[in-house]
Assembly symmetry: D2
Homo-oligomer: 335 residues x 4
Amino acid sequence: MLIVMRQSASGDDVKKVIDRIESLGWEAKPIPGEERTAIGVLRNPGATDPALFLDIPGVREVIPVSKPYKLVSREMHPEDTVIELGNGKVAIGGEKLVVMAGPCAVESEKQALAIAEEVKKAGASLFRAGAFKPRSSPYSFQGLGKKGLEILAKVREETGLFIVTEATDHEVCDLVEEYADIIQIGTRNMQNYRLLRRAGQAKKPVLLKRGMSATLDEFFMAAEYIMSEGNSQVILCERGIRTFVRHSRNTLDLNAVPYIRRESHLPIVIDPSHAAGRRDQVVPLARASAAVGIHGLLVEVHNNPDKALSDGPQSLYPEQFAQMMQEIRGMNIAV
Amino acid sequence: MLIVMRQSASGDDVKKVIDRIESLGWEAKPIPGEERTAIGVLRNPGATDPALFLDIPGVREVIPVSKPYKLVSREMHPEDTVIELGNGKVAIGGEKLVVMAGPCAVESEKQALAIAEEVKKAGASLFRAGAFKPRSSPYSFQGLGKKGLEILAKVREETGLFIVTEATDHEVCDLVEEYADIIQIGTRNMQNYRLLRRAGQAKKPVLLKRGMSATLDEFFMAAEYIMSEGNSQVILCERGIRTFVRHSRNTLDLNAVPYIRRESHLPIVIDPSHAAGRRDQVVPLARASAAVGIHGLLVEVHNNPDKALSDGPQSLYPEQFAQMMQEIRGMNIAV
Amino acid sequence: MLIVMRQSASGDDVKKVIDRIESLGWEAKPIPGEERTAIGVLRNPGATDPALFLDIPGVREVIPVSKPYKLVSREMHPEDTVIELGNGKVAIGGEKLVVMAGPCAVESEKQALAIAEEVKKAGASLFRAGAFKPRSSPYSFQGLGKKGLEILAKVREETGLFIVTEATDHEVCDLVEEYADIIQIGTRNMQNYRLLRRAGQAKKPVLLKRGMSATLDEFFMAAEYIMSEGNSQVILCERGIRTFVRHSRNTLDLNAVPYIRRESHLPIVIDPSHAAGRRDQVVPLARASAAVGIHGLLVEVHNNPDKALSDGPQSLYPEQFAQMMQEIRGMNIAV
Amino acid sequence: MLIVMRQSASGDDVKKVIDRIESLGWEAKPIPGEERTAIGVLRNPGATDPALFLDIPGVREVIPVSKPYKLVSREMHPEDTVIELGNGKVAIGGEKLVVMAGPCAVESEKQALAIAEEVKKAGASLFRAGAFKPRSSPYSFQGLGKKGLEILAKVREETGLFIVTEATDHEVCDLVEEYADIIQIGTRNMQNYRLLRRAGQAKKPVLLKRGMSATLDEFFMAAEYIMSEGNSQVILCERGIRTFVRHSRNTLDLNAVPYIRRESHLPIVIDPSHAAGRRDQVVPLARASAAVGIHGLLVEVHNNPDKALSDGPQSLYPEQFAQMMQEIRGMNIAV
């Protein structure tokens, strides 16, 4: 933390700041400049709230310096983390783009198997579908629950696709951990700390979706919660942020990708379906995501989106998905 | 929902839209205009996703019309809801501004009682303090838990102040319901549907904080979750939204207040402390909130903010809080 | 500027940073910490772009410290600036809230005089109305131009109200300077530097509206442009920012007010009409603005808003404006 | 426009709405539903302000339907517009990705020629560089002016590259039109209507940058200003929008691209340099932009960015630019 004093600050003002720093058990390092003094704060335990010093007379501004996360940081772990499924049959975080595809929700065994066959044929490695659904309306379909998980297990058995599915709270996480290959934590739960801790105790990798208005620091802190419980297999998922625009449900934040790759060792995947919210934007965004340089894609595919019980309108038809895969391969990206 | 066709749309395109509407069991009402045709959708069950029609040739735009909430709406309940505590000793939703004040977290009985005496003296009716704390860092103080609730009960007994405190998940809600007068649901949990349902089954009023980037429709839908379980005692709390600005932690959204009061019958309170994130903005925002026309204020007060275990820097000192109350009274607002 | 090195940065990396700092003619001040080294940059000319150092190996982050503005800063001018009109008949920046009211655009002498009489009677000190209008559609009414200014002069003569009106570009500014008492620069022109420079050469005070997505640093820099040309009579105007919300045209940023008052000596006024964009939110926001602590209000009033040639729907009726003034006085705020 | 009535609205309320619609000379088309009545508005001249009806009793919501732009719309011009330079030597809007590259500002003939040679060799078709610079600080380098334009003409002569350069106001536009092949209008001037009109009278194509917080409707309306004066050669440029994020200067809005291509016939190019604001994000965003499907790229390249007089830190080194071009070609995209 750096505390910037006003030009008019007196020696007494500076002393008060130093006293408060030291009373907190930290170390103060004054940096006298031509125009004003700044005071560096050392030995503080991670990020500290700037407002702690703003009411001392003569303080102009307080600037945070330390990052609050540790385990997530590339500083602690310089090499890329690679997460393997099935003894290396699939590796997320390596050179190859891993594609996870499937419907928003499991609706029936027949539907799930039909879509799974299609996405497998087109080149997907994982099947994604919700058994438990967090729905913004209490009057909407909430998922098949345990029965949905059983269908997902059947899909894995019959197709060889691995399964990623969402745990909507810490209790449900027990069941999801039992059935899934990757436990998904949804956007709205990015700061559900009880769930994050539970996922941190799981023996399965966790795919963590970024909150709709989360800064990358907040996103990393959510991953830190999981890792601080001992689970280092975390996959970060960008899925669009909330902005002022009206032409799409969210705005895909591709600027985040090079920043995340520089700052963290964790694999990063993108969900173009939720970033778009409308079918006609999904394929272009999938191509852009593949090109920006990521480790995986999470795509909604439905064989009958108009009749889907949830989120249909952003789902691709199987032939659109196959076309998307072909276009990505056409860009010389290994899928 | 209104579907707007392109000028170049053929009769066949229009027919396809009508067919899809009817295949969903709804009613289509074409509105031919000079330049183009629009098609109204009737009998659809609440809000529907616009993307459902975007891929039909000739469709230019799809505009949602219905609101997804019902119980929250003033249409269903034209009179203001007033929530009473202690047989009418306190009424939230009436003429008087109800002030809830206290520290971010319960730290000890001594601290809680000392602050409670101060805020009571200045005119607060409720004591607010967290026993369970949702913290963005896994390394931060997480609250005293049940012991904190017992201290809050002691505060009520000794001071007569009613208690509002947060339930951070559905399990914790059992305990919070037992001890609190009002159950608070925090910003990060606004879309924790399991918790919302649990709060909907509680016999106590619920104070629901708006999510950091929630639209008012989403905010109302979260309240609808609670009400759909049978609990009609919901208090809405605006606490600042996430914007591009850098001079405050959040931006207090006062435009929301007249909109909420027009659209819903539920009482609305404001939390200027979290909207500011820094002590020097809290009192001006509290005055502005009182002036815009609300039913209550939720304010952080600490007797030693520099040493507070959490969120200290946005807490007022007791004398600042007393000054704030005096300033609000000076504006001829009944507190 | 503060350059934060990675933990793994070598002595060589640190040296490269110091070399670049010195090659730019600045001074480097290394601050070795327990975990990592940070390097303070001194003698740099105001704000510098962080990206200048981001590609040196071992650099983790670059944090700007200096503020780019000088004349606008309270550090250079500790006392509040008070801007007087008519030899002190009106003082903007003092204790009294100065109210500027009138229609969006001058439409005719009859209309202007009628509204001016009404707002004067209710307590306004200035008449606001556009002779030149920046309209987002090329097909909309663009203002009466010079004839509009002549009508405004007539209004001043007949009512004694001072005149504030917009200069939409640097050429138009000559005429506006001749007729107006305060030259207004609109939101869309906040970074029209040619116009800012021209206004800086004017002999009249300038009311500068904040851009729709301007940070306060950018807002201050726009004021700095004006002041750097010699005109120190600048009034800052907050008028709502662009956010994700859908319930209002903009979001009034009241958090900005205490920050501006702390950081700058310039007077600050608020335009609740544009912050709302709809009539039913204007009066509540005007009350809130008065309560937060500002120097003036800019309010749209029209005697026949439904027929107004521009922006009618956010204009108050004269009786609503009178009611608003009464409510503000009822809050014991001197108007 | 669609006006949605409350359930409780009386026949009288509906009549008042119809009366107001008709008094404005428009046509009202009531759509009675099961729960409530909605009223379509026909024959209104383009977009109308919803607030015009919000204060009539019984009105719940007013929803705009018409789009305010015409000439920009694909409805008026179904085929893609292709803009040719040099009798078809370069075509913007066709199959090939047109790359425009060069420094932020012209600093000297030597610098300009050196960079131009490099970007030409790597495959650029246009040279971009500012002779007039809009700078957010009055104390920054403002460009070489006319001398800069003469240098640009020299660059064209010697390299065969076409020239795109910014006109910062309507007066400067005369000179820029004389020297440039494409007139650029900058982000901060997207709503400088005087400049837009002047550019609409020019005989050269115009590259219009999106404002930092402009909706696509507003962006289209700015293009409409230009086209309404008779210049149909407009190129739209997405360059990042302002959001809450802290890890980049702006957020590149790729969701806008498929929307723009569906809605308008104008060519669309992307400026990844300003969208990033830092060198390490530019190449990934350029790849993503090329993949999403656009007509051109605008990239900053400098042979000595650390010493650049403006905006250096987001400029690529020539070898990075060459690498970027190679990567795009590697994705099988024709450049």
